[in-house]
Amino acid sequence: MIQRQRSLIRSRSLATVGFLSPGLGLLIVFVAVPILLTAWISLHQGSMAIPYSRMRWVGLKNYATVFEQPIFRTALLNVFLYSLANLVIILPLAILLGLFLYQARIYGRNLLRTVLFLPYMIPTVAVAIVWGYLYEPQYGPLNEILTWLHLPPQGWLGSVHEAMLSLVILNVWQTLGYYVVMVVAGLTEIPQEYYEAASLDGAGWWRRHWYITLPLLRRTLAFVFVILTINTLQVFDPVYVLTQGSPVNSTDVAAYEMYITAFNYGQAGQASAMAMIMLAIVLVLSLFQLRLFRSL
């Protein structure tokens, strides 16, 4: 009996190792090791093709060079603005639309949810292509609609002041539905009795949601906040497809700057330094946010 028990335990720990190793092994080889190698390259002078053993140690010089370049500082600032603008627009809209989807007693709610969610699932490159034509100043429909409303036509992606906002609108359109679905999932967890009790006490719509919905939704909102930050800080596809950082670097973002530094200029060391800086920013911000929301 004891023999059998022992062999069972052994076969179970064998299974633990066997089942874990494919997934963990792949994550180690294709995620963990590359992160360490990026850190290593960032401390060396190196092109894209030079072997690791022949790279010259330069310490933190790449980091200094990268920060001295106004272009990377601009790219960092731009991606922060992009992220912030997305947060400011998406967070309230997601809450409002989530409440609407959850509470509205109308036909077509499922259709609305599907349509909201659909853009999130299609390639960002495709979304960028379509919006590129929508924004087209002369032949595009958006300026035509503005003309109907007696508003002046805009430069959109061609304008230094509007290009970034245009990319933000594109992202809001594409990803809003995903966050709405998360909010709806959070709302279904709130017990209905709370609202009934509040109604009995005469609380109106605003007060009910301010004192019940928002506090009880804070874990979901924290999650939305963190995912939104992580996703927007790595924006690359629409910039690559639509603007390549133009006009006058107004849409240059960190991921794009890193990509062309590596693949167009062949400066693997500097590009790796940029990647490590972004990694540090993303990790610090999301851990800080998680902690902040936990303490609320």
């Binding site: 299609i122 379509v130 590129g132 035509e144 999932a185 999650f223 690559y240």
Partner: protein
């Protein structure tokens, strides 16, 4: 609702109608905004070069022409790109499914030292931006002469933290008694996983398959980095190429036709199985 509330504040018939009308108005407005880009995509793909150049813009072509859906296959190896995308996407989806089920099962139902620490590391990989790994991955594939090949496109995408997390969340909900009963009957861990756990996992596995498929189909940065010949191009890469080489607005019909075809798998999958997607998001979202 108790009788008390009903008598307490019951909106008048008129206000009920008004609120209902407002709700429908909101819904229609959102639908129009969300669907307009899709409308423009289809309309443009059916326009002639003259329609595309017309001022003010033509909203719907007087004579819809489907010829651009043929042209797009002539100006780029688009059929090949579709095949490439299918090969890459299906392989990595199968890989992700297998690795995630196995690892998710262990994290949900096995006990061993350091489990939580390892699981936190797996979760942390979800936070790491794709471009942080890009240079070493590119060098790795180039050193193995796997750049511009299927294995090069597939290998880095055979496992991910999200999949393991999703599977763990679902499998944790399976009662331990069920597993113990099968163990008492002498089932090995292997048969336990595939005979007992996996059949219960069907909705979760569907969610993961769909997520993995769509995200691999949509992936841009990795193919952009390691593919350099048109024959190895994926659909998304071809779309970017089309747009770059035909910047003139008169070719918009061809670019839009390609785009319409390129989004079709994602759109169909989403419509067909949105229930699973939404369950997946809800599960990882709430308990995250």
């Amino acid at each position: 609702m108790s009788v008390y509330t009903k008598s307490y504040r019951r909106p008048s018939q008129g206000r009920r109608w008004l609120s209902l009308a407002l709700q429908y108005l909101c819904m229609v407005l959102i639908l129009v905004i969300m669907l307009f880009p899709f409308f423009w995509l289809i309309a443009s793909s059916l326009k002639s070069p003259e329609d595309l150049e017309a001022l003010p813009p033509v909203w719907w072509p007087a004579h819809p022409a489907f010829s651009s859906y043929r042209t797009v296959f002539e100006v780029t190896p688009f059929a090949r790109a579709i095949l490439n995308s299918l090969i890459v996407t299906v392989s990595s989806t199968v890989g992700i499914l297998l690795t995630s089920i196995m690892a998710g099962y262990v994290f949900a139902k096995h006990q061993f030292r350091g489990k939580n620490a390892i699981f936190v590391c797996v979760l942390a990989t979800m936070m790491v931006p794709q471009f942080v790994m890009l240079i070493p991955l590119y060098r790795m594939m180039a050193a193995l002469h796997l750049d511009n090949t299927y294995p090069g496109l597939i290998l880095p995408n055979l496992a991910n933290g999200f999949g393991i997390f999703l599977m763990r969340q679902f499998i944790a909900g399976i009662p331990d008694e069920l597993l113990e009963a099968a163990r008492l009957d002498g089932a090995s861990e292997w048969t336990l996983l595939w005979r007992v756990v996996v059949p219960l996992l069907r909705p979760a596995a569907a969610a993961l398959v769909l997520f993995a498929f769509v995200f691999q189909w949509n992936n841009f940065l990795w193919p952009l980095s390691i593919v350099y010949s048109p024959e190895m191009s994926t659909v998304v890469l071809s779309l970017n190429g089309l747009r770059t080489y035909t910047s003139s607005v008169t070719f918009a019909n061809i670019v839009m036709a390609g785009t319409a075809i390129g989004i079709l798998p994602s759109v169909l999958l989403t419509l067909w199985a949105q229930r699973y997607f939404i369950e997946g998001i809800s599960l990882t979202g709430i308990k995250g």
